[in-house]
Structures are given as structure tokens and as C-alpha cells.
């Protein structure tokens, strides 16, 4: 396990008291974001996202299968995340631990609750056959803020996904029917200070974490608080505002990268 030296923690805390972060960013500023789509030929949709040095690839695979019994006319969506040992000296091989599961479920909720994927348009035979969408998130390099990188990679991949109708002899391939993507912004708190898009060092000393997914209308679609520290209601309101502001910019970047 990588140890966080107490000196690093003290240094970050001291800087924060003067309104500064180690890499010179403002408290609500994101690192450089790079989005590249169509990176995996075997996937129906794919994207590689870099936020600072954090790197995530999401691949979308589609299949035909049975719908859930409580929604016989809707397509099915399943999200999985792998914190592969490639990405960090601290990630172990093996079945997903709670971190990976939480990550997958939070990204999943952001997409599901925003109704990004028009699942009612993915029905082939009501009650019998529907399209199944697998969203597989692969973390390649962990340098802080996996939630936003994973979410963004998944969105970019979905936005460029083609439903493989030809392969299943169901007509021509067509773009996955989608609505507006929600953008997730993650913040962490340490020593009473809240910063957005935590770097690895900041994440290592974080006491609490808050992810907020917002949409174009300025509404909230998903939230998740993690770690065992706490937030005041004021802090939460502030984070929501920063998330909305950053969300708009990131959404523009996302659309540009998929050619909209």
C-alpha cells in the first residue's frame, strides 16, 4: 500500500488555508480534459478520457436478450467498472471490491436517472427481445478523480455508439437513441476545505467526497457522498453550484469531441 507521508498532508492543508492548491488550480477548477472516441474497433462505442494523468477507457457492447419482467418493453443497461492492477500499485487483481462497485453504480445512476438512453426505443419484441447495453469502464491510470473520468468516458462512448442491428439481422446499424448527457463533477473535502477534481495527493488525504451529476437545464440527476467524513449543508450547496458551472463547460467539450 502506498503511504501518504504526513508532510504532504500538512503542506496541502497549509496551502489550502491560503486558498491555494499544490498544482496552482483554483478550488473549483478542473485539470486538463482530453476526450477521444472510437478507440476500440470491437466495441459498438468507445472512448478514452484523460483528466490530468488519470486515464479511463469505456467500451460499449450490445447484445440481444430478455427484458426485465417489470419493464418488458425497455432495453436493459448494465454498468461494470474494473480497477485493474495496471492503474495503480494499490489495485489488486480479483473480483471487484466495493470501490469498483460503488464507481460503477454511481456512473450507472447518473446515466439511468437522466434517462440519457431512450430505453423504450430499444425494444425488439415486447416481453421477449430487447437490446442490452453493456457499459464497461476500464481504469488505466489512477491519478485522482475516477468518478468524473469514468462518467465522461462512458458518456462519450455512448454518444458515439452504433446499435449493431446488421449483426443480428434486425436492419441497418443506427446511432443509439440518446437524450441530453448529465455531467458529473466530484469534489473532496480535507481540513474544512472543499476542492473540485481532486488530484491523487488530494484524494489520499480526503475525508469526504461528493459527486454531483447535473444536466443542461441546471437540474440535479444524481448525487453520491463517499468516505467517512461529513459535509455541512452550506458546503453541499456550494458544490452543487460549482458542479453546475463546470458541468456546462464540460458538456461543451464533450459535444465538441463527438463532433456535435
Amino acid at each position: 500500500m502506498t503511504i501518504t507521508p504526513s508532510i504532504k498532508r500538512d503542506y496541502l492543508v497549509k496551502l489550502a488555508e491560503n486558498g491555494k492548491r499544490a498544482d496552482g488550480r483554483k478550488f473549483d477548477e478542473f485539470r486538463n480534459i482530453e476526450i477521444k472516441t472510437g478507440v476500440i474497433s470491437k466495441a459498438e462505442g468507445s472512448a478514452r478520457v484523460k483528466i490530468g494523468n488519470t486515464q479511463v477507457i469505456t467500451g460499449i457492447k450490445m447484445d440481444v436478450g430478455e427484458p426485465y419482467s417489470d419493464s418488458p418493453d425497455s432495453g436493459v443497461m448494465a454498468t461494470a467498472a474494473e480497477l485493474i492492477p495496471l492503474a495503480s500499485p494499490d489495485f489488486e487483481a480479483g473480483p471487484p471490491r466495493e470501490d469498483a462497485i460503488e464507481l460503477a453504480r454511481v456512473v450507472d445512476r447518473g446515466i439511468r436517472e437522466s434517462e440519457l438512453i431512450e430505453v423504450d426505443k430499444l425494444c425488439i419484441e415486447p416481453g421477449e427481445k430487447v437490446w442490452i447495453i453493456f457499459i464497461d469502464i476500464h481504469i488505466l491510470d489512477f491519478d485522482g478523480n475516477l468518478f468524473d473520468a469514468a462518467s465522461l468516458a462512458s458518456l462519450a462512448a455512448l454518444l458515439t455508439t452504433k446499435v449493431p442491428a446488421e449483426r443480428f439481422e434486425l436492419g441497418d446499424d443506427y446511432p443509439l437513441p440518446l437524450k441530453e448527457p448529465p455531467i458529473s463533477c466530484t469534489s473532496v473535502k480535507y481540513n474544512g476545505v472543499v476542492v473540485m477534481d481532486p488530484s491523487l495527493d488530494e484524494e489520499e488525504i480526503a475525508e469526504a467526497r461528493l459527486t454531483v451529476a447535473t444536466d443542461k437545464n441546471g437540474d440535479i440527476r444524481a448525487m453520491q457522498k463517499g468516505l467517512n467524513g461529513s459535509f455541512s449543508t452550506d458546503e453541499i450547496k456550494k458544490v452543487i453550484k460549482s458542479s453546475l458551472d463546470n458541468g456546462r463547460n464540460i458538456q461543451e467539450l464533450l459535444y465538441k469531441s463527438v463532433g456535435k
Partner: protein, 226 residues
């Protein structure tokens, strides 16, 4: 300024013959021939053929000054991470304090940083460090950064030329551990400047005339501030 030819060699590259030279660090011998075992810079003086690694974990040598991070406090010793392939042992006899059995946590705990010296590297690669030396102590304050251990000589410079430049223009206290950990203390701006400059040195470590280039940059920034 001397222009040393910096030849880069890769593992399995044939470098020489045991008849003419001795096999030094970073090389292995097979059937009387000397080969490189790592990616590095060829250093071939009159007697030895050495390859200086371009990357890789810190390879401890006795008497190296290093910055360690305490991993564990045990009954009469501590386990210290020094960025090598193995953790190092710090025994209660090797610290300047009088530590009672089982009281180790009162002095050094998980996450504490120490300026230490490599005491011993034995046959089985078991490592020991010591704090018993003037200039060795538990570190308080400042900031810690990590660089490739192979870049440390560049950051220190010939006879300390590079590190002196940094100290002069930033007025910071800087300590460079042989194991690639660097401790910096000073004003907020000073510390940031040191970190940025060290990153630059790391990226351009192989270029010639780097010391002059860095001096120009530091001078220019100092002028801008006034």
C-alpha cells in the same frame, strides 16, 4: 563545457569482453562477453564498463543519504519505505533517542518522514537505515516530492552546481535523497518554483547545457519579480 557522448544502451546489447574490461554495474557476463542488463547510459572508463540506469527503483548503497517514510512501528524497530525493492529496518539502537521497549510509536509513527542514512545492505538484500549521524532527523514541515532516482545526480549537478543554483534563486532549504525523494522548505512561491524547476530538469535530464539553461530561467524569473 565538456560534451560527453551519451550513448544509450538496451538490455542484451554487447558492450565488451572480460579480457579487456571488468563488468561493472548494470551489466552481466555470459561466455566471457559483457552485456547491458538495463536500459541506460554507457559509462566506459579505463577499467570498468558500467551502465547507468535511466529509470527504475532506487538501488541502495551503504552510506547513501535517503528520505524515508515510516510504514510501521514495531516493538523495538520501525519499518521504513525508502523507495527500494525492499523496506528498510530502523532499529531503536540506531536513533538518537532513548526508546523503551514497545514505546516506538511515541517517537516515529506511520507517515512520518526521516532524513536517514543507509547503514547496511546485506547479502540477502536486507536493508538497514540509521538516524545516528548529525544532519539526520525526523522531518517537520516543508513539502516532499518524488523524482526518478536515476535523475538525482542531474538535480544535484556537478559538485552541487545545479542544487546551489536552485537554493540561491529561491531561498529555499532543499534536501535531495539518493532515493529520489526531495524535501523542500521555504516561501510558498519559492517551493513552487523549486518543484517546477525540478520537473523541468527531470524532463530534460539528458540534454546538454542544462545547468546554464536553468540558471537563465531562474535569473529571468527573479528579475520579473522585482
Amino acid at each position: 563545457m565538456t560534451q560527453e557522448k551519451r550513448e544509450i544502451v538496451i538490455p542484451s546489447q554487447l558492450l565488451g569482453d572480460v579480457k579487456n574490461k571488468k563488468a561493472g554495474r548494470g551489466t552481466f557476463v555470459e561466455n566471457g562477453k559483457i552485456y547491458a542488463e538495463i536500459l541506460g547510459i554507457l559509462n566506459s572508463n579505463s577499467q570498468y564498463i558500467n551502465v547507468v540506469a535511466l529509470k527504475g527503483r532506487y538501488d541502495p548503497s551503504e552510506n547513501d543519504f535517503v528520505i524515508g517514510i515510516v510504514e510501521d512501528a514495531m516493538a523495538s524497530s520501525w519499518l521504513v519505505d525508502i523507495n527500494a525493492a525492499y523496506p528498510a529496518l530502523l532499529h531503536v539502537n540506531e536513533v538518537p533517542w532513548d526508546v523503551d521497549f514497545g514505546e516506538t510509536e511515541r517517537y516515529l509513527n506511520y507517515g512520518d518522514c526521516i532524513m536517514a542514512k543507509v547503514l547496511q545492505v546485506d547479502q540477502e538484500k536486507k536493508l538497514q537505515v540509521t538516524l545516528k549521524d548529525r544532519n539526520l532527523y525526523k522531518i517537520k514541515g516543508g513539502q516532499l516530492i518524488d523524482v526518478e532516482p536515476s535523475k538525482v545526480p542531474r538535480i544535484i549537478g556537478k559538485k552541487g552546481s545545479m542544487i546551489s543554483l536552485l537554493k540561491k534563486y529561491t531561498k529555499c532549504r532543499i534536501f535531495v535523497g539518493q532515493n529520489g525523494r526531495i524535501w523542500i522548505e521555504g516561501s510558498e512561491d519559492g517551493v513552487k518554483k523549486v518543484i517546477d524547476t525540478i520537473n523541468k530538469i527531470e524532463n530534460e535530464a539528458l540534454s546538454y547545457g542544462l545547468t546554464n539553461k536553468i540558471e537563465e530561467l531562474l535569473k529571468k524569473d527573479a528579475k520579473d519579480v522585482h
